[in-house]
């Protein structure tokens, strides 16, 4: 089965009809298992129970970048291969990615209050995530401003690609500007510095949240296809209406 076989929206809809119940069930089970693991994990000797915020905060942070990656790949699909579902995928990823970015920001603020004594600091990592959130909102605003879907798709695709080129530059410049957040402690060349008792629940939660992301993404894509069908039907009906 090649990717192009699913270019037909009806085929995609029937595929999601079969897949979505399993995905929803799988995501719910994984989340339940993950939460169980999280509360089984030992408390941190310094941070106490608040370390558990990490198990939602870190996956959300990873998925916030994953969302922009999906949008970038889909935008290439729109502009280069003209895949008919690529713009649906790009449009659906924007609100889901923005939601995970917002979760990352909110849990980070709630974690920062007991640990750093403040909800917000102008630290490099926090600031880059905030900028990422603003860029998600910009893309969503562009989608909503251009009425015609195919034109909106290409405009949003160009903005997404320019953003994808600029995000590393923004990240680098913000790092230069200020740093307080702890450096990466899981994805490191010399192996993770985090204890296995905390690492296992973190990875389980990452899988669970990733599964949730994909489930939501497919569901939003499906809704978008249906919404476009309704729009086309409205347009056809208006054309056929008497007096036109």
């Amino acid at each position: 089965m090649a990717l192009i076989d699913y270019a037909n929206p009806s085929k995609f809809i029937s595929l999601t009809d079969r897949l979505l119940p399993w995905l929803i069930g799988g995501a719910a089970l994984a989340l339940a298992f993950g939460v169980n693991q999280v509360f089984g994990a030992p408390e941190d000797y310094q941070q106490g129970a608040t370390v558990r915020i990490m198990f939602i905060h870190v996956p959300a942070a990873w998925l916030s970048m994953f969302g922009w990656m999906i949008m970038t790949i889909s935008s290439l699909g729109t502009l280069v291969w003209r895949h008919p579902l690529a713009d649906v995928a790009a449009k659906a990823a924007a609100p889901v990615g923005a939601a995970f970015t917002l979760i990352c920001l909110i849990t980070g603020a709630l974690w920062g209050r007991p640990m750093w004594g403040t909800y917000w600091v102008w630290d490099a990592r926090l600031t880059s995530v905030l900028v990422l959130f603003l860029m998600y909102l910009g893309v969503i605003a562009l989608w909503r401003t251009v009425e015609e879907p195919t034109r909106a798709a290409r405009a949003a695709a160009i903005l997404t690609l320019v953003g994808a080129i600029n995000l590393p530059i923004i990240k680098f410049s913000v790092d230069w500007w200020n740093t307080l957040h702890q450096p990466a402690s899981v994805l490191r060349l010399d192996g993770p510095s985090i204890h296995p008792d905390l690492l296992v629940p973190l990875l389980v939660m990452t899988l669970a949240c990733g599964l949730t992301f994909i489930t939501l993404h497919l569901a939003v894509m499906r809704n978008e296809i249906l919404r476009r069908r309704i729009r086309t039907m409205h347009l056809l009906q208006a054309q056929r209406a008497p007096g036109s």
Binding site: L79, V131, L134, M135, L137, G138, A141, L142, T145, V146, R151, R154, A155, I158, L159, L161, V162, G163, I165, N166, I169, I170, F172, S173, V174, W176, W177
Partner: protein, 222 residues
């Protein structure tokens, strides 16, 4: 090449003679710098410390405000369609337009900077440093803005959206512009490093901006 110079000359002449362009942008810059002390208080020591930041924010907003006319006038009179269909590559034509725009709105801001620096109690070295960073940094703002202007030119309420889309992308320019100015004034970093990065951002913008803008204009036309 001849077509590009002609386009450059036309845009520069239009911007200078039609009014409402460069002088208004400089006036806006002056007003931003003037109202900041009303918010912060007339403390000259404080103003001196944050002077480069105020000048950079003012220049950023002033160049952003001028952007929505960059392509809109050409769309209104139809010359944008001619540009899209002509033999000259659209990327180069847009780069020429952006350079003309920078020459008529960005450069006046740079020239006005030493005067405005006086209001903020900056000494000679400091105002020269801010002017130098603005000189190499404002082209990046224009080129990024060009991409944003091309995306929003056909929209009815494009102006506000343009700012929302472009401002997050200008953060690196702002960071290194202010960092280079402060490095020249108080140290301890060398002035050269952030200054060179600022130059690099402008050169990157020169490549990304026109290509993205051309892509946006072409895709809006079919």
């Amino acid at each position: 090449m001849k077509a590009l110079t002609a386009l450059f000359g036309r845009d520069a002449k239009l911007a200078v003679r039609a009014g409402g362009g460069a002088p208004v942008a400089v006036l806006f810059f002056l007003i931003v710098v003037t109202i900041t002390p009303f918010a912060l208080g007339p403390d000259l020591a404080l103003l001196q410390r944050i002077g480069p930041a105020i000048l950079w924010i003012g220049a950023l907003l002033a160049s952003l405000l001028a952007l929505d006319r960059l392509l809109a006038a050409d769309l209104d009179d139809g010359s944008l369609d001619l540009l899209t269909m002509s033999d000259t590559p659209l990327e180069l034509a847009l780069a020429a337009k952006a350079l003309a725009h920078w020459l008529t709105t960005g450069l006046p801001l740079v020239i006005a900077t030493p005067l405005l620096a006086l209001f903020l109690n900056l000494d000679l070295v400091a105002s020269a440093a801010v002017a130098a960073t603005l000189l190499v940094g404002t082209p990046a703002l224009t080129f990024l803005g060009l991409a944003g202007a091309a995306l929003t030119v056909t929209l009815r309420r494009g102006g506000l959206l343009l700012s929302v889309l472009v401002l997050p992308l200008t953060i690196p320019v702002l960071i290194f512009g202010v960092a280079a100015s402060n490095a020249a004034i108080v140290g301890p970093l060398p002035f050269g490093t952030p200054f060179m990065i600022l130059c690099a951002l402008s050169l990157t913008g020169l490549v990304i901006g026109p290509v993205a803008a051309a892509l946006a204009l072409r895709s809006g036309h079919d």
